[in-house]
Symmetry: C2
Subunit: 332 residues, 2 copies
C-alpha cells in the first residue's frame, strides 16, 4: 500500500486539518468530524446537511460552502458517520427554518440519518426532512443497500438544492425539488482497478490485467459483471446504454457529469467525455451543462462513472448560480 498518509487510523482526521487550512469558507469541528460553512447558521435559510463515509472526496466536505452544503459529516473511510455526528451538524446549521438531510442510499447512512432526525425532533424540536439519493442503475440491491445505490446524482443535487436554499426557499419546497432531482437522474460506473482502504492495507478486490468491473459501486462493491477490458468507445456505450434504457433523456435538456473514480487522469476523462458526447448527440439528447473531473471518488480507484440529469430551465438557472466550495466554484 503506497499512500500519502501517516497512520492509517488518522487519515480522516488529518485530511480535515488540511481542508480547514486550505479553505477559508469552512470551519471544522474536529471532535465531531463535521465540516461547517463558516457563516452557518444563516437566518431564514434552510440548513443542508450531508455526509457519509470518507474516501469519496471532494464529496461531501469539499462541497461545503456558499451555494452548496452547510455541513458535512465525515465517517471513517467507507464507513457511515454516527447519528451523534449528524445530530450535532443538524443543530449547528439550524436557524429556525429547518434542516434537510441529503442521504446516499446505503443502509448505514439511511439508518443513522433517520436516527439523527428522530433525536433532533425529540431533543430540539428542529424540523428535519430527508432526501435519499438512489440513482445508480447498475444493481437493484447491493452489498450495502436495499434498492439502488446513491452515487453521482448526489453531487448535482447538492449543487442544485444548495442554490435553491441560498434563494431562501422553504423546507417543503426544497424537499420537493430534491426528490424531483433524484427522480430525474441516473448513473452508472466502472472500474479498471480496485482501491485500497488504508486500514485494510490490501486491495478491496482483485481485477485481472484484462478485466474491468462494470457497474462498480463507490466502495468497490461488485457491479453488474466482470468483463473483458475494452476500449473507451465501448466502455462509454456500456455505461450509457443502461442509463438511457432506464429513463428518457430526450424530452428535456440534460446535465452530464463524467466523473473520475480518483485515480484516473484528466486526459482519460476528457477522452471519455468525447465518447459520451458522441452518444448523446446520436441519441438526440441536448446537453445543457457538463462536468468532467473527480467529484465522487473511491480513493485511488481507476475508472469513471457517467451521470445524466434531466434539467429544465429552473434547474439550469440553479446550476448557474454562484457556488464557492473546494470541489465546485464559479460566479464567486
Amino acid at each position: 500500500m503506497k499512500k500519502l498518509i501517516n497512520d492509517p487510523q488518522d487519515v480522516v482526521a488529518e485530511a480535515l486539518l488540511g481542508i480547514e487550512a486550505a479553505r477559508p469558507e469552512v470551519r471544522v469541528d474536529h471532535a465531531n468530524r463535521i465540516v461547517y460553512r463558516r457563516d452557518t447558521p444563516k437566518t431564514g435559510k434552510v440548513g443542508l446537511v450531508s455526509g457519509g463515509g470518507s474516501g469519496h472526496e471532494p464529496l461531501h466536505g469539499g462541497f461545503v460552502g456558499l451555494g452548496m452544503l452547510d455541513a458535512a459529516c465525515a465517517g471513517q473511510i467507507f464507513t457511515s458517520p454516527t447519528p451523534d455526528q449528524m445530530l450535532e451538524a443538524t443543530k449547528g446549521v439550524d436557524s429556525g427554518a429547518g434542516v434537510l438531510h441529503i442521504v446516499k442510499n446505503y443502509t448505514g447512512d439511511v439508518m443513522n440519518f433517520d436516527m439523527a432526525a428522530e433525536l433532533a425532533a425529540a431533543e430540539t424540536g428542529i424540523t428535519v426532512e430527508a432526501v435519499v439519493v438512489n440513482d445508480d442503475v447498475a444493481v437493484e440491491d447491493s452489498l450495502y443497500t436495499a434498492g439502488r445505490r446513491g452515487v453521482g446524482v448526489t453531487v448535482l443535487l447538492e449543487k442544485l438544492v444548495g442554490a435553491a436554499a441560498e434563494e431562501g426557499r422553504s423546507l417543503p419546497d426544497l424537499v420537493t425539488l430534491a426528490r424531483t432531482i433524484n427522480d430525474s437522474g441516473r448513473s452508472m460506473g466502472m472500474a479498471l482497478t480496485s482501491c485500497t482502504v488504508p486500514a485494510a492495507a490490501k486491495p478491496t478486490f482483485e481485477l485481472g490485467e484484462d478485466e474491468m468491473e462494470l457497474g462498480i459501486g463507490i466502495h468497490g462493491e461488485p457491479g453488474r459483471r466482470r468483463v473483458a477490458l475494452v476500449g473507451a468507445r465501448e466502455i462509454a456505450e456500456q455505461l450509457m446504454e443502461p442509463v438511457l434504457d432506464d429513463l428518457d433523456f430526450t424530452s428535456s435538456p440534460v446535465i452530464v457529469m463524467l466523473n473520475g473514480m480518483g485515480g484516473t487522469p484528466l486526459v482519460e476523462l476528457y477522452l471519455m467525455y468525447g465518447e459520451v458526447a458522441k452518444i448523446t448527440d446520436q441519441a438526440g439528447i441536448t446537453v445543457a451543462r457538463n462536468l468532467v473531473g473527480n467529484y465522487i471518488t473511491s480513493l485511488e480507484m481507476a475508472g469513471c462513472s457517467v451521470t445524466l440529469l434531466r434539467a429544465d430551465q429552473e434547474l439550469i438557472n440553479l446550476w448557474d448560480a454562484p457556488v464557492n466550495t473546494a470541489g465546485l466554484r464559479w460566479g464567486i
Copy 2:
C-alpha cells in the same frame, strides 16, 4: 496497461475532441492540435500561447479561456509540439499587440518555441517574446533539460500573467511580470508510482513497494534520489526543505500549490496540504492563497508536488481576478 483509451496513437486527438465537447469557452484546431480561446484574437490584447507534451492535464489545454491562455499547443504524450503548431497558434492569437510564449524549460519545448518565434518574425512580423519557466529545485540538469525543469510555477504564471493580459497590459510589461513570477517561485515533487505512456504500454520506471522517488520530474524522469517510503509528514518536510532553502519565502505573502500527479486521490492531497501548512506556519510564512488538486500531472502517476510563490499585493489581485477555464474557474 489499463487505461480509458481507444488506440494509444489517438489519445491526444481524442482528448481534444472531449475538451471541445465539454467546454464552451474553447474551440479546437484539430489538424494542428491547438486549443484556442473562442474569442481570440481580442483587439488590443497580447496573445498568450503555451503548450508542451500532453499527459499533464489540465495543463495546458485546460487553462485556455478568459483570464489565462489564448492558445495551447498539444504535443503527443510527453513530447514537445512542433514549431509549426506554435507558429500557427501565434498567428491565431495575435491582434497586433504581440504574443507571449510561456515555455516550460525542456530542451525540445525551448528549441521549438524559439524556432516558432523566428518563423513568426520572418513570415509575419508579429512581435513575439518568451518566458522560460524553470522552478524545479530538484535537479540542476536532467534527462530533458539544461538547467532546472519547469513545473508548478507554470500553472501560477499562466493564471497571473493571464489576468494581467486581460487588463490590456503591454507585451514588455507582461514579459517583466512573467520573469518576476518565475524568479519568485520554486517547486519540488515526488512519486509513489510510475506512470505508463500509452504508446510504450509499460511503466516508465519501476519503484519498489517500499520506495519513493524524491524530486521526480513530470515525465517520470529521475529525481534527486530514490528513498524509503515514509509518512506524509516526513514527505512534506523532504519536499519543503529544498524549496525553503532555495529562496526566502518569509518576506512577503505566498501562494502555495499542493499539486497531485494524476493518480493521487483528493483525500491524500488534503492531508498533505495539512502537513505543508504546518511547515509554513512554523517557518513564519504567510499563505495568502492556495490551490489543492491536480493541476500539472504526469498521467496516472501517484505522488504530489509543492510550489511556493512570493506574491505581493499586485500578484494577489491578479490571482483573485476572474478566470474561466476547464482547470481553474472563479469570478465567472
